[in-house]
């Protein structure tokens, strides 16, 4: 399994380096009291990093018919899938950890720090779930077909702010307050173990599909 992790690591390590350096530069460059834009951007970066590396890796696998190649070798579907899931888990953990470390060095009020931490952890959790579902989608549909669906979905996401603004209108501050309230009240000591259990469950499902 380690040899598969090692092969895929190049993609994830490359993206990690770029995002880590970029985030650090932004952190140094934006010496601002209000770190909100950088926090929001960091959450998005977690997605960009994981999905960028993952999709680039899967495109490469498809281009070289890598799964056909691996099928001829003494390696089980379980090893192939767990290598991929493991790498995503490590990447998300490392990235969220790095972001948290970066913001812990920023002057943020204790009350806001809880929000920042919660927002970054939530980004990590959602990213893990989306990545697991994406792998399942790729194993069912193949990369190209799945990528087309994802692209269409991303385009549709552009309409979400429009719909939100139409729905909430002048009460946007209520929505924002609700989100902040939600972030403040998430019990991470419960959510994180459940997330990991769910992620492991999706990994087992992905192995079943790959088999």
């Amino acid at each position: 399994m380690f040899v598969i992790v090692k092969k895929n690591l190049a993609f994830f390590a490359g993206y990690c380096s770029v995002v880590f350096v970029l985030t650090a530069i932004l952190r140094v460059a934006l010496q601002v009291e209000n770190a909100t834009p950088l926090v929001l951007l960091s959450g998005i970066m977690i997605f960009m990093l994981v999905f960028g590396a993952m999709f680039f890796n899967e495109q490469y696998e498809e281009k070289h018919k890598a799964y056909d190649f691996l099928d001829t070798l003494p390696v089980s579907a379980g090893e192939i899938v767990s290598a991929k899931f493991g790498l995503v888990l490590v990447t998300v953990t490392a990235t969220v950890g790095y972001m948290l470390l970066l913001f812990s060095l920023t002057k943020i009020a204790p009350n806001d720090w809880a929000l920042v931490r919660s927002y970054l952890l939530l980004s990590g959790v959602v990213c893990l779930g989306s990545a697991a579902l994406s792998y399942i989608g790729i194993f069912i549909l193949t990369y190209t077909k799945f990528a087309v669906i994802v692209m269409s979905f991303v385009v549709l996401l552009g309409f979400v702010p429009v719909l939100v603004m139409k729905f909430y209108g002048d009460n946007m501050h209520v929505l924002i307050e609700n989100i902040l309230e939600f972030l403040r009240n998430v019990n991470w000591s419960t959510v994180i173990p459940f997330t990991l259990i769910g992620y492991f469950g999706l990994m087992l499902l992905a192995i079943k599909i790959k088999e």
Partner: protein, 293 residues
Amino acid sequence: MDNTENILELQNVHKKYKGFVLDGISLNLPKGFILGLIGPNGSGKTTTIKILMNIVKRNGGDVRVFGLDPRENAKRIKNKVGYLGEEQNFYGNKTVAWTGNFVSAFYDNWDTNIFQELLTRFGISRTKKTKELSKGMKVRFSLALALAHHPELLILDEPTAGLDPVIRREVLELLRKKSKSEGKSVIISSHITDDIMRTADLVAFLIGGKIVLTSEKDELLANWKRIHYKKGAMDSEIANSLTRQTDHAFGSSGITDRYLEIKDSLVQGITEGVVKIENVNLDDILISLVKGV
């Protein structure tokens, strides 16, 4: 041969695709033998081989490789099998050396010396990227990968496709040597019957998803003969039983699949020069079986 241990056993194996059915095939491969799987394109050779490797899941029947079911023991089986597929897929931007190193990590018995020796023998540069290898080079590289972990069984799907005659001969001789001197079992599929003729001990004809004939090659060639005869020179029942009948200057000719059985009744005609016996090759047998006449 009945008491010999079977390395590979297929019993009534079924696989259904849209527009294709592998229809209850049964095959055995005893240890140390080379089985040639012959059939026209689309007859199910690759599907059969992929079922053995658990790359394709069968719909029914029983498959045993080293006594194990590939569906449950694919990893254990693949560790002892050298496989060369119809298509050679590698990470194109990686070198031969990288690929060898990558593949070696999966096998318990990988032998770097043998791998290097085979690369040298096949004239493959370690520093070349796999996408830069020609079709023939890719086949040879795959063969080097397939042989470098001392496999007990070689499963080869059209191994000589795309090879020039010199390399083709070399590959076939290598396989023959591996089987005879090292006791390796080999299943080799091909529609090039000449390859099977050179290498196989046993032959199975797979046509339209069915095994229509299996036999030891020598017994097969002893029984299948082309008979040329002048009109009235041969028993009419035998004459009518011949397939692929043609008329020509000598008289008529046709193919029999039971020469050893009818041999005695032809002796007189052969002595008088009105009956002539000619050997057939596997191509003739395949065509006879495909056409069914």
